[in-house]
């Protein structure tokens, strides 16, 4: 089962590339169409890790996004060799995936009534997710109103898990700028979240 579903079929690969193109020029509908595809890939990468398929591989946030990138992009399509473009779109997608996920988890918890989460989960990790992603999403929208660049940095770093250097590459600015801007943006956000 694993083997056959690992690579997207040729046909859908082309459509992903097309959707990414459209998303890059601001087509929101294209982003919506991409969402389930990227989400499926994320899940697959993670479940493959769970199944120890590649035991030598330590998965990290950046690696996860990179891997999704490799799987989604038609390597023969010259236009999409530019990783920066992909990460730019991917960050927004990751944000939406994670926030949607948080929203649905919240709804599940509220509606769950007596269906219990696993005991160890409840008891061992009351603070598992230290940030309320739904709230963060709102606050980040506010930040974007007066500091669009910094909001972008937060999206790339926090939601797509990119390093400062990678963010700098995507945005075409210096590493030190990213570092500085990230720090003040982070402090402002954290202050709003407390």
């Amino acid at each position: 089962m694993r083997g056959s579903s690992l690579k997207l079929e040729e046909k859908s690969l082309q459509s992903v590339t097309r959707l990414l193109h459209q998303a890059q020029v601001g087509d929101r509908a294209a982003l919506d169409e991409l969402l389930p595809l990227v989400y499926r890939e994320l899940r697959q990468v993670a479940s493959r890790q769970l199944a120890h398929e590649r035991p030598d591989h330590t998965l990290q946030a950046t690696a996860l996004v990179h891997e999704v990138y490799l799987r989604l992009i038609d390597q023969h399509s010259v236009d999409w060799r530019n990783r920066a473009h992909f990460f730019s779109i991917a960050a927004e997608l990751m944000r939406r995936i994670l926030v949607n996920h948080a929203v649905s988890r919240r709804a599940q918890k509220r509606g769950a009534g007596d269906t219990l989460l696993s005991l160890e989960e409840v008891l061992s990790f009351p603070n598992r997710q230290s940030v309320d992603l739904v709230l963060l999403d709102e606050v980040l929208n506010r930040l974007a109103e007066f500091a669009p660049v910094q909001a972008r940095i937060v999206e790339l770093r926090f939601f797509a898990g990119l390093t400062n250097e990678e963010v700098a590459e995507v945005l075409g600015v210096s590493d030190s700028t990213v570092k500085r801007e990230w720090r003040s943006a982070k402090a402002w956000l954290a202050a709003q979240l407390t």
Binding site: A46, S47, Q49, L50, H52, P55, D56, T58, L59, Q60, A61, A63, L64, V65, M94, L98, D114, L116, S118, L119, E120, E121, V122, L123, S124, F125, P126, N127, R128, Q129, S130, V131, L133, L136, E145, F146, A147, V154, R157, F158, F159, A160, G161, R180, E181, R183, S184, K186, A187, W188, L189, A190, A191, L193, T194
Partner: protein
């Protein structure tokens, strides 16, 4: 926020963030100057700079949760051989040290994300020596600890080849004796650690392994402690105490979040033994929510072990042939296990050693220390549930067993235990009462007593909740509990006394008291009815005051006032000469009068003249020098002084001729002088009493304010200075006295307005800022302090007005905006919020209008008039919607300003 504003914020943040804390303060002073909002925002950001909340991408966490270490990967200095297992806490790997020095096989446990890694690693370092000092053949040694490259905490233990103790017993087919002997090895190890004051806190079969050679090894000793304790250095809580326990084996105190002690381990060992001997757990918690588990573990008595083994569905896991097991367990073993499982730690074995010793005596056929759960033990619980019924049922019991010789002894013993239990109950009640009544009063007016009192309150409150439950329907007992709740409420929120500052807590306790008093009143015989009604009167009053203070429950307050009036009328009809009742009646009328004032000055004044003053004079005739009379007079005159002053200010705002408002101010001053006389008399009589000292100060300050309004500014300043000295003495006496902080803030505002009259704007601004700081301190200590919160809005408006008068319109507008924002953010009542917002626009409009009047160019003037009108119209719109008496008054002022605008502009 505007992008410019953000850039300024960012620029300052970048410049100061790496400075030492003291440097930050002065840098902020210089950078923000009088922009308080900016400064506040920056302080929040600087405080949040240390936050690690956004350091880890949720993707990384997502990834980590599914992360696996494979063979030959390294964690710290350790090379992984293979994974041993994983669970809620994280994963365990078999590994060896990688530096080739030792070939010792170790177990590496990696803790999943979700905990504060930094704090855990620091604590590991601190405690490693203590934990590593646990050298015992039955305890797996802790070798090392650290942080993985991915930032997860890990620790390293001696690798144990073994299986969990329950599995081992099953697999080896051990009988009861062999199981007990094995279990005593466990006890020996736990005992060894307890002597070194290390508690395990998470004893369970999966932490108790047995090697192939039949040797016990305990894992994770002290680990749960390290992972659970609050991070003292970061100040953040990492995991609640509840966080790291295994519900099946956790003691009642762990469920309640109380600190774990050696008795906690005794309990968990009891559960383990129960399980080893019966194959079942004392409490079946499957499918329960946490609160249900807590209830079961803390309240339900576990079954006797000998009665559970034979149940059919346990047979698959039952370790011992049911018949053999049950017979063996009945008696001693039942008693021993149940003693370990007592709810109250003090009823369990005092140590694991004693627990083990009792097992040894059982094995040798000697009598054991554990008794069956005694009648006394049960009686105590029962008595707690129903004190009155106990006397009866104990009698019945005595009669029943009286003739049976064999049980006489137990009956005698039961009677003794019952008496003891009842005595204990009464002792608890007495203690709660003395805590609340005697000790608190004794220290209440001492300097610096607030922290001690706060502690006292917390303990007392817990006692009372217990007692209220235990009291059943006994009216006398209920009344005592209610009185104590009321006292607690007084202490937490009574205005005009050194309060610990918790209005919400006060309301809660008053409500509890009121509910109990109502029950008492309903069930009281005629002879007790007067007292019950008086209790009700007094609690309703306290509750109303507290609610008013919190700016809450307008409807509830109205309801309480009506209840009071009807009780008083009933009582006065019975005893017309009762002086105390007259006073009470006067105070209640006073409250009604205040409400009348809210709906209109003339109406209020009439009510005071017709209802309040006559009662005051009557009281003065009956007992002219009584404290009650003086207190009443002081309140009536204060109210009149205040409302007259307010009306004077309103008339001035409405542009009425000077003589009219001057008349009000003069009458206000007259009343305040009378109040000050009373206060001074009380103060002279008892100079050590803090509340009289405060009264004396208030008297002087109010005269100062009235003098200012009548235009005698220099005299006013002298009075205010004297008031300030007195307030400061009060504040110094007890730095936690919030009332003194508030009073001082109020005084600085009063002084600022004197400066404004003298056109000394810089001084006025400085005083207003000081006032703002004082209000912030009050709010920081008591977030529900409505008086301080709305006062803060007023001070912001006054800052705006002062800047406007000083000719700095843009700064003024900034303050109005701040006032609006703060008011919006903090208002709990929509109507109040509207009035506040309306006032903000009114003030802004007035400021624009004042500037328009000064313009020489007609174009500029026209623009400003336009803005003034826009603000005023906005104010009118908002106030019209609010429809409260206060909004109606403000609306009059707005309309007056609008008319002025219209005629001036055009």
């Amino acid at each position: 926020m505007s992008p410019d504003r953000w850039n300024e914020l960012k620029r300052i943040f970048d410049a100061v963030v790496d400075l030492p804390p003291t440097g930050q303060v002065s840098a902020l002073d210089a950078a923000c100057r009088d922009d308080l909002e900016l400064r506040h925002e920056l302080e929040k950001m600087l405080a949040a700079d240390a936050s690690t909340a956004l350091d880890t991408s949720p993707l990384a966490q997502f990834a980590r949760e599914t992360e696996a270490y494979g063979a030959d990967q390294k964690i710290g200095r350790y090379r992984i051989l293979h994974e041993v297992g994983r669970g809620g806490m994280g994963a365990v790997f078999a590994a060896v040290r990688d530096d080739g020095e030792f070939e010792q096989k170790v177990a590496v446990k990696v803790i999943k994300s979700g905990l504060n890694t930094q704090a855990i690693v620091r604590r590991f370092r601190r405690e490693r020596q203590i934990l590593a000092s646990l050298e015992h053949p039955h305890i797996a040694r802790l070798l090392d600890g650290g942080m993985t490259e991915e930032g997860l905490p890990f620790y390293v233990m001696e690798f144990v080849e073994g299986v969990p103790i329950d599995e081992y017993c099953r697999g080896a087919g051990l009988g009861v004796t062999a199981r007990l002997e094995l279990f005593r090895q466990v006890c020996a190890a736990v005992s060894y650690a307890h002597i070194r004051l290390i508690v395990h806190r998470d004893l369970k079969p999966s932490n108790i392994l047995v090697t192939a050679g039949g040797q016990v090894k305990l894992l994770d000793f002290g680990i749960s402690e390290v992972l659970s304790r609050e991070a003292d250095d970061g100040g953040r809580q990492t995991v609640t105490q509840l966080g790291l326990m295994t519900p099946d084996y956790a003691s009642p105190e762990q469920f309640r979040g109380e600190p774990a002690t050696t008795a906690t381990d005794v309990y968990s060992l009891g559960v383990v033994l129960f399980q080893l001997l019966t194959g079942r757990l004392p409490h079946d918690l499957t499918g329960l929510r946490l609160d249900q588990m807590l209830k079961r573990v803390c309240e339900a008595e576990p079954p006797r072990p000998s009665t559970v083994g034979a149940r059919p569905h346990a047979s698959s896991s039952a370790p011992i042939a049911a018949a053999q097991g049950d017979a063996r367990l009945r008696g001693d073993l039942d008693n021993i296990i149940l003693k370990a499982l007592r709810k109250e730690p003090e009823h369990r074995y005092a140590s694991v050693e004693q627990f083990s010793e009792d097992l040894a005596r059982h094995l040798k056929g000697l009598p054991v220390a554990a008794r069956p759960a005694t009648f006394g033990y049960k009686a105590e619980k029962f008595i707690k549930r129903n004190r009155v019924a106990v006397a009866l049922s104990a009698l019945v019991l005595l009669t029943l067993v009286g003739g049976i010789a064999a049980t006489v002894w137990q009956a005698v013993r039961a009677e003794r235990e019952r008496k003891l239990a009842q005595k204990r109950f009464e002792q608890a009640r007495d203690l709660a009462n003395s805590l609340v009544f005697k000790y608190h009063d004794a220290i209440a007016n001492l300097p610096n007593s607030s922290p001690v009192r706060e502690l006292l309150l917390k303990d007392a409150s817990a006692y009372l909740d217990d007692l209220a439950q235990d009291a059943g329907g006994d009216p006398a007992l209920l009344r005592e509990v209610a009185l104590a709740y009321a006292k607690l409420g007084d202490i937490q929120g009574k205005p005009h006394s050194a309060s610990v500052g918790n209005t919400a807590g006060a309301i809660e306790h008053y409500e509890k008291a009121a509910a109990l008093f109502e029950t008492v009143a309903r069930n009281s015989p005629a002879s007790q009815r007067l007292r019950a009604n008086q209790d009700l009167l007094s609690i309703y009053k306290s509750l109303s005051t507290a609610l008013a203070r919190a700016g809450e429950g307008a409807d509830r307050r109205e309801e309480l006032l009506n209840k009071r009036l009807s009780i008083i009328d009933t009582l006065l009809a019975e005893q017309p000469d009762n002086f105390a009742l007259r006073i009470e009646s006067a105070h209640t009328h006073l409250s009604v009068g205040k409400r009348r004032f809210e709906s209109g000055f003339d109406e209020g004044l009439r009510y005071y003249n017709e209802h309040v003053l006559p009662v005051l004079f009557e009281a003065g005739r009956l007992a002219p020098e009584a404290d009650e009379t003086l207190g009443l007079a002081q309140r009536v005159y204060s109210d009149l002084g205040w409302y007259l002053g307010e009306e004077g200010r309103l008339q001035a705002e409405l542009g009425e001729p000077h003589e009219i408002s001057a008349g009000y101010f003069q009458r206000s001053l007259d009343y305040y002088r009378r109040v000050a006389e009373i206060y001074e008399k009380q103060f002279r009589a008892n100079p050590e009493d803090l509340s009289h000292k405060r009264g004396h100060a208030i008297g002087i300050v109010n005269i100062g304010i009235a003098l200012r309004d009548t235009g005698r500014v220099e005299e006013a300043l002298e009075h205010l200075e004297r008031g300030r000295e007195l307030y400061q003495e009060l504040a110094k006496f007890d730095p936690n006295n919030l009332q003194a902080v508030f009073d001082l803030g109020d005084l600085y505002t009063a002084r600022a307005l004197c400066h404004v009259k003298k056109r000394e704007y810089a001084r006025a601004v400085a005083d207003l800022e000081t006032s703002l700081e004082h209000m912030d301190r009050v709010i920081a200590a008591d977030a529900k302090h409505q008086e301080a919160i709305s006062y803060r809005v007023d001070v912001l408006l006054l800052l705006g007005n002062t800047y406007a008068e000083a000719g700095r319109l843009s700064v003024a507008l900034g303050y109005y905006e701040q006032a609006g924002n703060y008011g919006r953010k903090t208002s709990t009542e929509a109507a109040r919020a509207s009035v506040q917002l309306g006032r903000v626009h009114l003030n802004a409009g007035r400021a624009y209008a004042a500037f328009a009047g000064k313009q020489s160019s007609t174009a500029a003037a026209r623009e400003l008039w336009g803005k003034a009108q826009a603000e005023l119209q906005k104010a009118a719109e908002i106030l019209e919607r609010a429809r409260t008496p206060e909004s109606a008054v403000q609306l009059r002022v707005v309309n007056y300003q609008l008319r002025k605008c219209a005629s001036a502009s055009g």
